[in-house]
Symmetry: C2
């Protein structure tokens, strides 16, 4: 089996290739080769992989690049490459180029390959396709009303994925990721970064700023769950999806205040003491647009997608996966 991962140098791309190195199989078939493509970052290669890994610096917005990337006819394509939310808002042109034109270039390259080429395409959409006002709990039929350019671009990607799938050009499945939390490493330009910062920094003994009121809510899943969603999406027989190939993934609803109380239960008062409230009206305006409610995700759950059930668990996943099971903030 041949696999292509676009955005292979990103946080999810790197975790995904590591998971694939661990399993060595996808859909019960041995993986022969994975291509990791990314636009700037040279992706890292897991040392333990039993399959061949090809690294490519590739910009899908450029003519001919998508065609070259799929020239070995990968069986499964994880299309993770994207300009994230904050950057899509600050750089309007780049967001549309990468998230819309780049995605369409990839789908077009697949369509034009023809000759029976019919790859499984796993597309990462986002909770950002939604916008308020919301009912108390949002079900799978809720209308998409994105309030950000990023959300609009992901919603366009979904429409393309559905239509290319309906026409038989590719076998697509789109997964709307909740806000990924706790994001490891340095902050990226995702607008939702503050939800991770207030957990990640205190756990390693660094002060973090809480720039918005504790009442703001969001809908979360861990990076580990996100990798689980991607692996499971690749295995879904898409006939069960009908023409609606995109679905909201399960997650944990929590407010900023509930995040902090979960951190207190997991790591204690000393760690929570590192969170300093400093309200920033500019950030609060952004967070207000990202004030996501609980999602029912009945469809995804029925298809076997799973994630953490509490925010405590989300923090524990971070401590286990990123901090070797320790809480350095307690030891200082």
């Amino acid at each position: 089996m041949q696999i292509l991962i676009t955005g292979g140098g990103g946080m999810l791309g790197q975790k995904l290739v590591n998971e694939l190195a661990r399993t060595s199989n996808l859909l019960d078939v041995k993986i022969d080769e994975i291509t990791l493509a990314d636009v700037i970052v040279e992706p890292k290669v897991p040392s333990s992989a039993e399959f061949k890994i090809v690294l490519k610096i590739a910009d899908l917005t450029q003519d001919g690049v998508a065609e070259e990337l799929i020239s070995n006819r990968p069986d499964v394509i994880f299309h993770l490459a994207a300009v994230v939310s904050g950057e899509a808002e600050s750089n309007f042109e780049k967001g549309y180029q990468v998230n819309v034109v780049g995605t369409r270039n990839l789908f077009e390259a697949i369509r034009k390959t023809g000759n029976g080429y019919y790859p499984k395409v796993v597309f990462t959409s986002s909770v950002a396709v939604y916008g308020g006002p919301y009912p108390e709990v949002v079900d799978d039929d809720f209308n998409l009303q994105p309030k950000t350019s990023y959300g609009a671009q992901k919603a366009i990607g979904e429409l393309l994925l559905n239509d290319y799938s309906r026409r038989g050009f590719l076998d697509g499945i789109g997964i709307r990721l909740p806000t990924i939390c706790v994001r490891p490493g340095l902050p990226n330009k995702a607008a939702s970064g503050l939800f991770s910062n207030i957990i990640r920094e205190p756990l390693i003994g660094i002060e973090a700023v809480l720039p918005a009121g504790k009442e703001f809510t969001n809908f979360f899943a861990s990076p580990k769950s996100a990798i689980g969603f991607l692996m499971h999406a690749a295995s879904i027989k898409t006939a069960v999806l009908g023409d609606q190939r995109c679905l909201m993934m399960p997650g944990v609803a929590a407010s900023l205040g509930e995040e902090i109380e979960a951190l207190r239960r997991v790591a204690g008062d000393k760690v929570v003491g590192l969170i300093k409230e400093e309200r920033d009206p500019f950030v609060e305006k952004i967070v207000a647009d990202w004030n996501f409610p609980p999602f029912e995700t009945a469809r995804a759950k029925a298809l076997g997608f799973t994630c953490e059930s509490t925010f405590d668990e989300i923090i524990q996943v971070h401590i286990y996966d990123e901090l070797d099971g320790r809480i350095p903030g307690l030891e200082k």
Copy 2:
């Protein structure tokens, strides 16, 4: 006031420029000049117009064409240019080029003009953005699940219009047109043509084929109402729309069988006798995808959009506007 009409050679574009020639004003401002742009057809010019009319053969999918079209900074742009439903389904590439790339080129040209340029953009979307399964009556919050490439392309246009409006690049309003009926003239490539054919042809004494079961339903408005929607949309102060700039227009729900009974009431048995049932499984498959339910359209009605209230009235509008008030099929 300067006005640009893309698709100015099409049925709606031609009727719109005639209506503007009649009013000479838009938004209580005198019209100075209208540009009619179309890709192939040389648009016709109403003889009575008191304003200057500029005709342009222009293909929005080509580089630089959109920039040239708006170089005189039109105050109001009616963006009607589109590949219609049947053709968007049979020519996948052309549909995306014209309906998505062409629309984005226009919006990009407006954005890049900058310098305070902020035109009103009236975009014709379509009932085709919807897809089943439907509840008994569809309200304004119903999820968009297009079942055709045309519907997907129009839904993408709506997302772009909303986002470009939210970002302040243009002042957009999108109107989802019901199936336009009775379409005058020769059949075009719209998938919904048969709903008009069975009325238009018998009224002039020509046999028409009914290729699908009488139980199939749709949601209709006359060409006259469509022009009313366009004129009214141009006058709406968009602040009342919030971030959701697109809305379903009112219409009349009817099945093929109800259309025929309305024709019988308006024109009698002799005319109805010209309809021959010849079921065509291929057409029935298309019509099944276009089996639109009644739409509530509360939002549009509250904003003052109006249309016919019965299908009888829709037929009478056709007789009055296209047949000089006569029914030639009765006279043969």
